[in-house]
Amino acid sequence: MSSQVLRRIIAISLPVLLLLAGLVLVLSQTSRPLLLLRVLVPWAEVGALAIVMTAIILTGGIDLSVGSSAALSGVVLGSLYQEAGWPIGLSVFGAIVAGTGAGALNGGLVVAGLSPLVATLATMAFFRGLAMIISDTQRVTGFPESFCELSRLGGVSNQFWLLGVVAVSGLVVVHATIFGRWCFAVGDNRTAARFAAVPDRRVDFALYTVSGLVASLVAIAACMQHDTAVPDAFRGVELQVIACVVVGGTLITGGRGGVLQTLVGLGVVALLDIGLNLLSSRVAFLTAESRLVTTGLLLIGLAVWNERLQKE
């Protein structure tokens, strides 16, 4: 077995082993395991965003504004329906346009030469502020019954369907298309990629726009489920998303990683969080504060481990 392949296997083995350990931990603490599906719904939202984030990080970029774009889309949905009185279908369309537009703004800024970190840091605040202004910091409730009923299709929450569709698309695009190869190339060495006629700017623009689009879909699914749109929603979600990508083994500097790894990372981060929450009722040491510390330490450890393993 070549050292490359062995390295790959070891690199993914730790997250997978932790995933299994996490599963054992969580299942041992629940007396009603089927209800875990309810707990996993917000994690499906994180997962959908993480798949797109993987592609972005592969190019060496980052999108810190996903939470804010989602909140903005949700608020646009609520405002169009309640304030402007648009029919719900049109309001949903408006929300998608808002999210995609937000993503396009990110894409435009990055293509114009701004570092993705700086650009999305700024838009993170900008979109959140817009959401607060549009909604007048009020929540919107009272979406139509027909809309909320759609939150479960075929007995499964929409968020899971969304994750499924995004995961499959992501797997195909990133690992089986030229576009995917372009992402890896750009992340590995942008200048070399340019010389190889890779349209790196178009790749960037497309990725950030899609990130905004998926954020808007996540927001719509959440509105369907909770019957509420708040400007404060999805705060902090970008960090969870990035944690999933990094724990999975995608290098933050780009050029290495993949969608499958992110899915494993999602499992680890989700189970870690759920497991610690479940344990906290049995183990006195696990107060809310110490849970934060424990999660942080474990994630740092994993990220460092992955970086060291993946470096040549």
């Binding site: 730790l14 054992v24 629940t30 209800l35 309810r38 929540r139 999805f234 479940l278 344990l279 009722s281």
Partner: protein, 342 residues
């Protein structure tokens, strides 16, 4: 060579983690009661990490010990309903018999509370209510009658300003908590009503909502003090808002502003001792936690009928159409503040 040592290291780590996990799961037959042999009550405050909800935790734990039930007392680190919803769903997987929640936003949580009921847990609210119809919560453990509390807050200010020999006319400010919490909003409504009826010369400014954040409350109050040089009085109506307002007035040397409201004796002791604050009110927060657990437990036996009844060491508690009232508010001042420790 390096690759195989990495493989061994991974295997060792894996075993260590598994071993660590197993070590924390109680074996069957251990003294920790599991959800099957006794009742499990989940009590969730608006957030954890502030003195008020530490006090309610003490009371809840006291009642849990008395009744011999398993208590899960936990909440999000920030006062956000998104986090509360996640935590509620996590608890449901552990099988709670009764869920007692202090919702940050009465609307956002109500759907989840209703679903919890459908999944077999009984639901009550405490400290602040949810949307009663939407959530179908069985009872609301309220610290005091909202009307009584609102009037008492107004009276404290009126007595305080008049007691200094001043006229009531002037600008007044309320510093609240989160913009959506229904308990604060109800009190603000009542205060406005009482003032409009009985003391219309008091001009009420737009209230502040710095969230359950003492630092933010301090900053916003300081700003407001700077913008309103003729402020006569400030109410701080959350446990963190009042000490923040007192500090802001003290630091800004605004002795002419009369500061009162509600907060914990432990948080207010220094301000009462140095004269920044005269009197303020609260209720026994420890008793509120105690009562919440007792009400949750009582519900498992029978429906709560309106009238007066005893809950553990709290006698003669009034139950009114699904609302359980802890009792009249407690007024703290220089003379009695050292008797209380929460």
């Amino acid at each position: 060579m390096r690759n195989s040592s990495l493989a061994i290291l991974s295997a060792v780590l894996f075993t260590a983690i598994l071993a660590g996990c197993d070590g924390e799961t109680p074996e069957p037959g251990e003294t920790v009661p599991d959800g099957r042999s006794s009742m499990t009550i989940g009590v969730m405050p608006k957030l954890v990490g502030i003195g008020y909800f530490d006090a309610t935790q003490k009371g809840a734990e006291e009642a849990a010990k008395e009744l011999g039930i398993t208590l899960i007392y936990d909440g999000p680190t920030e006062a956000r309903s998104e986090d509360q919803i996640r935590m509620i769903n996590t608890w449901l997987t552990q099988g709670v018999d009764v869920l007692a929640v202090a919702p940050n936003d009465p609307e956002a949580v109500s759907k989840t509370l209703k679903e919890a009921r459908e999944l077999g847990s009984d639901v009550i609210t405490w400290d602040t209510d949810a949307n009663a119809k939407l959530s179908e919560r069985t009872a609301f453990v309220n610290q005091a009658d909202n009307d009584e509390l609102g009037r008492a807050l107004v009276q404290l200010m009126v007595d305080g300003v008049k007691g200094r020999g001043e006229l009531l006319e002037g600008d007044y400010l309320i510093v609240s908590g989160t913009a959506t919490a229904s308990n604060q909003n109800t009190w603000i409504e009542i205060m406005h009503k009482v003032i409009a009826e009985k003391h219309p010369e008091m001009n009420m400014l737009q209230h502040l909502t710095p969230g359950e954040d003492q630092q933010k409350a301090y900053e916003q109050t300081t700003e407001a003090l700077g913008a309103n040089l003729k402020l006569k009085g400030i109410w701080g109506i959350t446990s963190v808002a009042l000490p923040a307002a007192a500090k802001a007035c003290r630091d800004g040397s605004r002795k002419e502003v009369y500061v009162t409201g509600l907060s914990l004796p432990d948080l207010m002791r220094e301000y009462v001792k140095d004269g920044s604050v005269d009197r303020f009110l609260l209720w026994d927060a420890v008793d509120l936690g105690y009562l919440t657990v007792h009400v949750a437990h009582a519900l498992s036996k029978a429906k709560l009928e309106s009238g007066k009844r005893d809950f553990g060491r709290l006698k003669g508690v009034e139950v009114r159409d699904g609302e359980v009232l802890l009792g009249p508010p407690l007024i703290f001042d220089e003379d009695n503040i050292d008797e209380y420790h929460f």
